[in-house]
Amino acid sequence: MLAKVNESLDSLDDLISRIKEFSSDIGAILIFIGVVRGQAKTGERVLHLEYTAHETLAPRVLEKVLRRVISKYGIIDAIAEHKIGRVPVGEDIMYVLVASRHREEGFAALKDLVDSIKHEVPIWKKEVTEQRSYWVEGEKVDP
């Protein structure tokens, strides 16, 4: 398991090798790559995103989310890395990898992980468009 919130992401190839080494029972590796989209929900052209995080809480909550999802779906292992700082359009923001015995539980775990990271880990995003910059509002999710 690896939970990281940092100014740079590790290479995806390295992360795949790392998760593969964990067990010979792995039958599927599922990967989510979050990328900065060039158009905001308002239709404005995005120049870049700025991510900031609670330095100590963000990695701790990320690790907690990983542990919960691994246990809930019985998957073999998971990795999540989230970038902070300025991230231009087209660049990767987040890698989430899930290793499972079969694809079904892997897909379910991956979706849960990505949703939980967005809603629970204290990381915040500011969208900088051609016209303005604004903080993106988080959504309140009932437990």
């Binding site: 900031t52 995080a53 609670h54 990271i117 204290p122 990381i123 915040w124 903080w135 988080g138 309140k140």
Partner: protein, 95 residues
């Protein structure tokens, strides 16, 4: 009940909108109710950024006490230790 001093840290949108990163508050009583009262007095006319009424925080305010997220458990009688660190954060919007 004896009072206490707490340190309050603001993050992201709240840090910008309030123009505050870190403040210290002296509380009349060492509990969450007293903290909210002192915070509201300190931020004055900008209190609507964090408060929905005189005594309650808005739903989009996330609180951590001594680096533990307290979620919806913001009970007024929750005790605070002297030197407690209280983080005031917006809801997460990463990814």
């Amino acid at each position: 009940m004896k009072g206490c001093k707490v340190e309050v840290r603001f993050y992201a949108k709240f840090k910008e909108e309030l123009g505050l990163a870190l403040i210290q508050l002296e509380l009349e009583e060492a509990n969450f109710r007293s903290f909210l009262k002192a915070l509201r007095e300190r931020i004055g006319e900008k209190s609507a950024i964090l408060f929905r009424d005189d005594t309650q925080l808005r739903d989009d305010v996330l609180i951590a006490i001594n680096e533990q997220i307290v979620g919806d458990v913001k009970h007024p009688e929750v005790t605070l230790n002297n030197g407690a660190i209280i983080d005031i954060m917006p809801l997460p919007s990463g990814g």
